[in-house]
């Protein structure tokens, strides 16, 4: 070994240090070195610098400062070193060195440096018997060599080496300089590695962020709108953009025809889209179909290399070169396929496929929702049309029947008035029969019209306050004559009656006339009919008891249904069969209720209860009754502008809430304290205490602070509203949807904070309905278990013990009524809240069967999904009011 380590140069340095000339030279050298280091460091500090720039600067300076003929940097590449930068090479040597990597072994200086991880030099290669690169030496002509390792992360990644063509060994100082330069070169390498790793990482992050944003956007579109085209277009657009593709289409699968149909496209010309929409893509006979059946993404990297089905041929002809098909599947079935295409050939990476698969699951939900929405929309339209047809039919039927009835009744009256001469008794009797029959027909006609008005929601009440006793006497007067003829005594004690009733006077008289008339009709001679009226709690109660034949128990629940008279019909053919139905509807329209107590052969008592709340002129005084008699939850509306207040009131009422409107902040606070409303709707501009003060007062009172307050104001001061604790802030004018959305959200948020368990068992024989409920509730944090039949559901409910059960009424095996009955009868599930979701329009009998046993009924036809979610959340949290009302 003739190679000389750095340490061996130490004696030489002591001699040289005494020499002033050498010192001056040394200083100049140090200055040059400093300048060189600065140059390299400044290069390193520049972010945009590539490693090659740094290497070039290093070899240039190293060669100069080390007074060498050549400086070079080799980087490790497996078992060899390859030159990456050099200064002083001849063209010939450069070509040779580039072609020939240096092996990593002790036969080379680089090998020794790498293996020992330190600086080495060879004073004269020709005197080194182990040196084994004769070819290199012959071409380069070098004699003295020195090199330093480039170490990154404890690994020798390269070597900086200089050589002299004369035998002139390098001193220790030169070795130090070279070591420094090597360190700088290593630093450059490390910087560049870090920087590119950083760039790759940030590019990766940026891509992830894009993906997340896109997924979030799609998710939002999926959950916030049911406009199918909007959702699907969003999905295709993002799928194409994120996968760096050029176009795409979303295909919907029709289970009946077994065909895929293009629903929406992106990046596709109108002409191609039009052709895509007509091409036949069968599940068994197409590439898309096979991909969808496989359940995983399937791609064609080059359309020119495969057999083409008509769909692919169309795409290929239109210039598309590669594509990937992502199946859209729900757990049990294919709903469609997402096709993403490029104009260039090439495979889609696994990453892209994963991303598209994530999109696909969103798309499948969106597509399912969109279909359900369309079905619902169609049903809704059909219902609306049917309802309109019914109204039109009734109106024209009424007109056509009235025209001949006019003659029947009119001529009978002419005869009975003896306008044109006397009738004998028998003739008069017959004409009276004709007149009675005509009037009966007319009454029937009027009841049908009234009933259809109530059912269409078009009967409006003209509520006034009228003296109760006078109205009752007026009704009794109308039946007194008939009662006298039947030998029935009419009894009424005005002493206990309320002084006034506030209701639609004509309608209430119609109701009483019907009930009292019935009682008289079904009471045998010598019996009596007793009318009582009194006030009890929040209600005015009126009962009519007879000593008649009674109503069999089996008939009691359906006596309020149309054309049901129970066994009583046997004794009489009078009455329209609609009277009690109409009566009950009118009472319900007032927010009241009707009932029947009866004992066969003893008598019947029909009762009706009207809410007193309707008749209070000063609602403040009635607030001591927080439980509204009709079971609706109250919302306090603090608004001084009557028309705004009315509008808000109408919207809230339509949503099944009970608005309590006050004009001032002071009254509002009193109402909130008394009623503990579900929510407060608050105007800001108020006489006296303004809305801000009211809001602050509510939030400052620990007992009221949790009450959600929705501010509705002309002032655009959302920030201030939220800062003061408003649940939501709406700027007038406010739409119905905006208002109700804010109220339901506020209610749901309050309930959410209660941290209640939210899992629901949904029972419906219609899979589409199940999916809709799932798609609505799952994004809102619900655990949804679905059952398609009542029998299955009962065992599921017992095992999962859900916080709520959502049940359809009409099912083939065990129907919803039976489910409710069974749940209530079992002590384990007796308290489990049940909500009915049904397309069936409930009859009075249905309601009676469900009354007190379920939380509420949601109608499929007019379902507002966010409303349903909010109300379920409320029920699950036990935040309902504990009443179990079946609303009309």
């Amino acid at each position: 070994m003739t190679e000389r380590d750095d340490e061996r140069s130490t004696p030489g340095r002591a001699v040289e240090a005494d020499d002033p000339v050498w010192l001056a030279a040394r200083l100049a050298e140090a200055q040059k070195q400093l300048a060189a280091t600065r140059e390299i460091l400044s290069l390193l500090a520049t972010a945009s610098t590539s490693e090659d720039d740094v290497f070039d600067a290093v070899v240039e300076n190293a060669r100069r400062i080390c007074r060498a003929q050549v400086a070079q940097i080799h980087l490790a590449d497996g078992e060899h070193f390859k030159v990456v930068s050099a200064s002083g090479y001849t063209a010939h040597y450069a070509a040779f060195a580039t072609r020939n990597p240096v092996p990593l072994n002790r036969g080379t200086l680089m090998g020794r440096i790498a293996l020992d991880r330190r600086t080495h030099q060879i004073d004269d290669v020709l005197a080194d018997p182990d040196y084994n690169l004769p070819e290199f030496q012959r071409l380069g002509g070098y004699r003295s060599l020195i090199g330093a390792p480039m170490v990154v992360d404890d690994e020798v990644v390269g070597v900086l080496m200089v050589w002299r063509t004369t035998v002139e060994p390098f001193n220790e100082h030169t070795a130090d300089v070279l070591t420094t330069f090597a360190e700088q070169a290593a630093l450059a390498l490390r910087n560049v590695e870090l920087s590119s790793a950083l760039q790759a990482r940030s590019a990766e992050l940026a891509r992830k962020v894009d993906e997340m944003e896109a997924l979030a956007e799609v998710g939002q579109a999926v959950s916030s709108t049911l406009d199918p085209d909007e959702v699907l277009t969003t999905i295709v657009e993002h799928a194409v953009e994120l996968s760096g593709a050029d176009g795409g289409s979303l295909m919907e699968y029709d289970e009946e025809s077994l065909l895929f149909r293009v629903r929406t496209t992106y990046g596709t010309s109108d002409a191609v889209r039009a052709r895509l929409k007509t091409v036949r893509v069968h599940v068994d006979e197409s590439f898309v179909g096979r991909a969808a059946t496989s359940g995983t993404p399937v791609q064609v990297p080059d359309l020119s290399q495969v057999d083409l089905d008509p769909h692919l041929r169309l795409l290929s002809d239109a210039g598309w070169r590669s594509l990937v098909v992502i199946p859209l599947v729900r757990p049990d079935r294919i709903v469609g396929a997402l096709v993403v295409r490029r104009l260039t050939p090439g495979a889609f990476s696994d990453e892209v496929c994963d991303l598209l698969t994530a999109f696909a699951s969103q798309s499948a939900i969106a597509l399912t929702n969109a279909r359900l929405y369309q079905q619902l929309e169609l049903q809704r339209r059909e219902l609306a049309t049917t309802s309109q047809h019914k109204s039109d039919f009734l109106a024209s039927m009424s007109h056509e029947l009235r025209t001949p009835l006019n003659a029947v009744i009119g001529f009978s009256e002419v005869l009975l008035e003896r306008m044109f001469g006397e009738l004998n008794d028998r003739q008069a009797d017959y004409v009276q029969d004709i007149l009675d029959a005509g009037r009966h027909l007319l009454a029937l006609l009027n009841d049908v019209l009234d009933l259809s008005k109530v059912e269409a929601g078009r009967m409006e009440l003209e509520v006034t306050t009228f003296p109760a006793v006078d109205a009752i006497h007026a009704v009794l007067a109308l039946v007194r004559e008939r009662a006298g003829q039947h030998g029935v005594e009419l009894r009424f004690d005005p002493a206990e009656a309320p002084t006034h009733i506030t209701a639609d006077e004509l309608r209430i008289k119609q109701v009483l006339l019907n009930v009292v008339g019935n009682a008289v009709k079904f009471t045998p001679e010598g019996g009596s009919v007793t009318l009582r009226a009194w006030t009890e709690g929040p209600e005015v109660l009126i009962t009519v008891s007879d000593t008649g034949i009674g109503v069999a128990e089996a008939d009691r629940s359906r006596i309020f249904d149309s054309f049901q008279q129970g066994t009583r019909s046997a004794s009489s053919s009078e009455g329209t069969g609609l009277g009690l139905t109409l009566t009950r509807r009118i009472v319900e329209l007032h927010g009241g209720r009707m009932w029947l107590d009866s004992e066969l052969g003893v008598g019947s008592t029909f009762g009706l209860a009207l809410p007193r709340q309707l008749q209070e002129h000063h609602p403040v005084e009635s607030w001591s009754d927080p439980a509204a008699p009709d079971g609706r939850r109250s919302v306090v509306v603090i608004e001084d502008d009557p028309s705004s207040a009315e509008l808000v009131g109408v919207h809230l009422t339509a949503a099944g809430l009970r608005p309590v409107t006050v004009r001032t902040g002071e009254e509002g606070l009193a109402a909130i304290r008394a009623l503990r409303p579900t929510a407060v709707v608050l105007d800001i501009h108020l006489p006296g205490m303004d809305g801000w003060d009211v809001l602050s007062a509510i939030k400052a009172d620990p007992q009221l602070a949790s009450t959600p307050v929705v501010v509705v104001s002309v002032l655009p001061e959302r920030g201030r509203g939220f800062a003061l604790g408003a649940a939501d802030y709406l700027v007038k004018p406010v739409s119905k949807e905006g208002l109700l959305g804010a109220v339901w959200r506020a209610v749901a948020e309050r309930v959410d904070r209660s941290g209640a368990r939210r899992d629901v068992v949904v029972i419906d024989d219609d899979p589409a309905a199940l999916e809709l409920v799932r798609a609505t509730l799952e994004p809102r944090g619900w655990t949804v278990t679905t059952c398609t039949g009542g029998a299955e559901a009962l065992s599921v409910i017992r095992s999962v013990n859900p916080s709520i059960v959502l049940v359809d009424l009409l099912m083939p095996d065990v129907d919803g009524f039976e489910v409710v009955d069974t749940l209530r009868a079992d002590p384990r599930t007796a308290a489990t809240p049940v909500v009915v979701l049904t397309a069936k329009s409930l009859t009075a009998r249905d309601r009676q069967r469900l009354q007190g046993r379920i939380e509420f009924v949601a109608s499929k036809g007019e379902l507002d999904l966010s409303w349903l979610a909010a109300r379920l959340t409320e029920v699950a949290a036990g935040g309902g009011d504990g009443r179990r009302e079946v609303e009309p």
Partner: protein, 131 residues
């Protein structure tokens, strides 16, 4: 005192006969026609004290006939009462809004009918002479 003259416009022969007979019995002078077009001519020629007009008529209907009567200065001042089997509140309101002076619904009350017509003919008619 000359009897009050009534122009009765009614396309259903039985209802025409009923209204005519009841009114004549009560002392009215009744002219009866069965279409809107005939009514226009009869009104110009006869200048009745009051017109009783069915709403659903062949040819021009009651509403159209009313606006033609109002558009003609000769007949514009004659009170016109709708006599209809349309029983909806909305029908009555539409009729009153479009300018009928009263609305009588079929079936008529034979006992009250002459008085209702007389009230309108004399100008002090109750606008809602409902049965």
């Amino acid at each position: 005192m000359t009897p009050l003259s009534v122009l009765l416009v009614e396309d259903n022969p039985r209802n025409l006969k009923l209204a005519r007979d009841v009114l004549e019995h009560a002392g009215f002078a009744v002219t009866a026609v069965t279409t809107g077009e005939e009514a226009l001519t009869a009104a110009r020629v006869g200048m009745p004290d009051v017109i009783l007009m069915d709403l659903q008529l062949p040819g021009i209907d009651g509403h159209a006939a009313l606006s033609r009567l109002r558009a003609d200065p000769v007949t514009a001042g004659i009170p016109v009462i709708a006599l209809s089997a349309f029983a909806m509140q909305a029908d009555r309101e539409r009729a009153l809004v479009s300018g009928f002076d009263g609305y009588l619904m079929k079936p008529i009350s034979v006992r009250d009918f002459p008085d209702q017509v007389r009230d309108h003919a004399l100008g002090g008619g109750t606008r809602d002479g409902a049965p």
